[in-house]
Symmetry: C2
């Protein structure tokens, strides 16, 4: 059977080692072990250990697992925001984070910029009383990545506020200074190239303290997935509920594979592939890179205006066993989104460019 290269924003192509890890998991009965067993605790411990090493996570950070990154929007608002949050919006996913806060009846402020642009942090003034600033590092809908320095700069003006960062479609690429933010989250079906159904939530001590403070004031912080419950269970390398055991196992294995390859090498490859793609589109008379400011272009989600409908392009690319993403929402046919995740080889990107040249 022919192998299709999925350069889609997620779910995406599996990281090259994943199929074998799944087969190994089946041989080791990973799906049948109890989530309260020593064996599960070892898996939890291995996965969090490998992730911590890979991401260079400081020791005051915890790693928790949820059903999805969407769930983490919920949990951040529930656990860290008693009344007021502030959202930088520049696309559909940052807007959904904002809408989550509103659905959870919080007083949510926003600073919104046009689709395809990154927030101009010097212009931003955050109201007194805001408890959490919600950043979206990589807007999966528009292909804008917010420069880390912009994030840190804004946060440094409001150090008493908690900084929450949605890095759903950029992890493990960004090299965060974790001392300048408080919580980061992502899902596994993007940069890690894993089956969907698992969210990963990195949380520092300050967040735990905030949740405990709210809890002590009898504010509702949720139930099984509140930070107190997650922290308590994680002390014994367990989760409050029966989790996606296979997903946690696979994440640990892929994190190990990435450690072996080296995150520096992975980042350099992503930089190289992104440069190949942007150079091609910038010098093409037909396609047009959507994000104009080069400083704001995502390395992992490349968005391009296409005169030919995205569905038509995909029909042609499938001849080369490549599938790319269509545009998001109203841009479904007029834009394409190319995922540039660690699992995609330079050769596949070169093959894509060659084929696009021919069209």
């Amino acid at each position: 059977m022919k192998q299709i290269h999925y350069l889609t924003p997620g779910p995406t192509g599996l990281y090259p080692t994943v199929k074998q890890h799944i087969i190994n998991a089946l041989e080791q009965d990973i799906c049948s072990i109890s989530h309260r067993s020593k064996k599960f605790e070892e898996i939890f411990q291995e996965t969090t250990h490998n992730l911590r090493l890979l991401l260079g996570l400081p020791s005051d950070y915890h790693i928790f697992f949820t059903g999805s990154a969407t769930e983490i929007w919920d949990r951040i608002i529930e656990n860290l925001v008693e009344k007021t949050s502030f959202h930088l919006i520049n696309g559909s996913f940052s807007k959904r984070f904002y809408n989550t806060a509103r659905e959870l009846k919080r007083n949510a402020f926003r600073y919104e910029v046009e689709f395809g642009y990154s927030p101009a942090v010097d212009e931003i003034s955050i109201p007194v009383g805001v408890e959490v600033i919600c950043f979206t590092h990589n807007e999966t809908s528009s292909g804008v990545a917010m420069p880390l320095e912009d994030m840190y700069k804004l946060r440094s003006r409001y150090e008493h506020m908690i900084a929450a960062v949605d890095a759903v479609s950029s992890m493990p690429y960004p090299s965060f200074d974790y001392s300048k933010i408080d919580t980061v989250f992502f899902s596994v079906q993007k940069g890690f190239g894993l089956p969907a159904g698992l969210g990963v939530w990195l949380v520092n001590k300050r967040c735990i303290e905030k949740a405990k403070d709210l809890h002590s004031k009898h504010v509702c912080i949720g139930s099984y997935h509140n930070l107190i419950s997650l922290e308590e269970k994680s002390k014994s390398n367990q989760t409050p509920e029966t989790p996606n055991v296979l997903g946690i196992y696979l994440l640990g294995k892929v994190a190990e594979d990435m450690l072996t390859k080296g995150l520096d090498t992975i980042r350099k490859e992503i930089d190289l592939k992104a440069q190949l793609l942007y150079d091609f589109f910038d010098n093409h008379s037909y396609f047009e890179t959507f994000v104009k400011n080069k400083e704001h272009r995502s390395k992992t989600i490349i968005v391009v205006n296409s005169p030919k409908p995205a569905s038509e392009l995909n029909r042609r690319l499938i001849e080369e066993n490549i599938q790319i993403g269509s545009g998001y929402g109203k841009y479904k046919e007029s834009q394409i989104r190319i995922a540039n995740f660690p699992g995609t080889s330079v050769e596949t990107i070169e093959c894509l460019i060659k084929k696009l040249k021919e069209l």
Copy 2:
């Protein structure tokens, strides 16, 4: 490699067809398809169709997916209880449902009976104002199954209240009259013998209306997984978040396998295996069936007092490639729990009994 038979309460042994379905899924790139694609919609449609057929679900019921059954405790309280819930408690899981309501700051009433007993429904009086009665059909901790008629009888006295049924460790065994209850939920790593990481929530029209009513009164009913959002997305065979696509696919395939075998046959096999086990333990001088009232004994979770520690028994049973569950909580060593799910053959149960006789 030797095959171990996991007769554990969940995660448990995989249903015999699951490994092949996982391999098929990998060949078909199920883990890489977009959750907004036609292909995913077909999977969602097939899974809900098969489940509907298998369970004999009426047309006014919806099928929704979550990250776990634990999540559904949360969502039931959020979506269906503005102020007051009522809980029948007879073990650790029914108590956690009650605790969830309290953590979510609801006014939760309870009727509690001793561990190993089923609620005496004639004695129960439910306060005025209660919105949802929370039943636990099958107490995974104690091995008590509440007779369906008891459930219907209590509910018939309070028809204006919503009846919510936790059937986590009994589905697909119980033959519910869905017109006499309003919502049922379960997880897939028990009776369906699937990898953990997916909850299934069956919801009738009345529940949707209640959630819409609360929403219109500006009561917070949660965000992405509130019933309005789940219903809206399910109309196009989608989910609000990127779900556990592989889990949904596998559930549909196993439901299809169960349809082929016939749920009647599966139920008769479970009855037969349960009878073999209870007969053995009832007539054994050493072991003692924990649940005294035969009407209240679970067919799917058999709990037994064991003079020999559960860990010691498991060390011996592993010689026959069998693993059983230990007791729950403080009964960890003094009780054993044997899962009698559809995936376990009569032969495996006979082998277990033979080995226990020798010990």
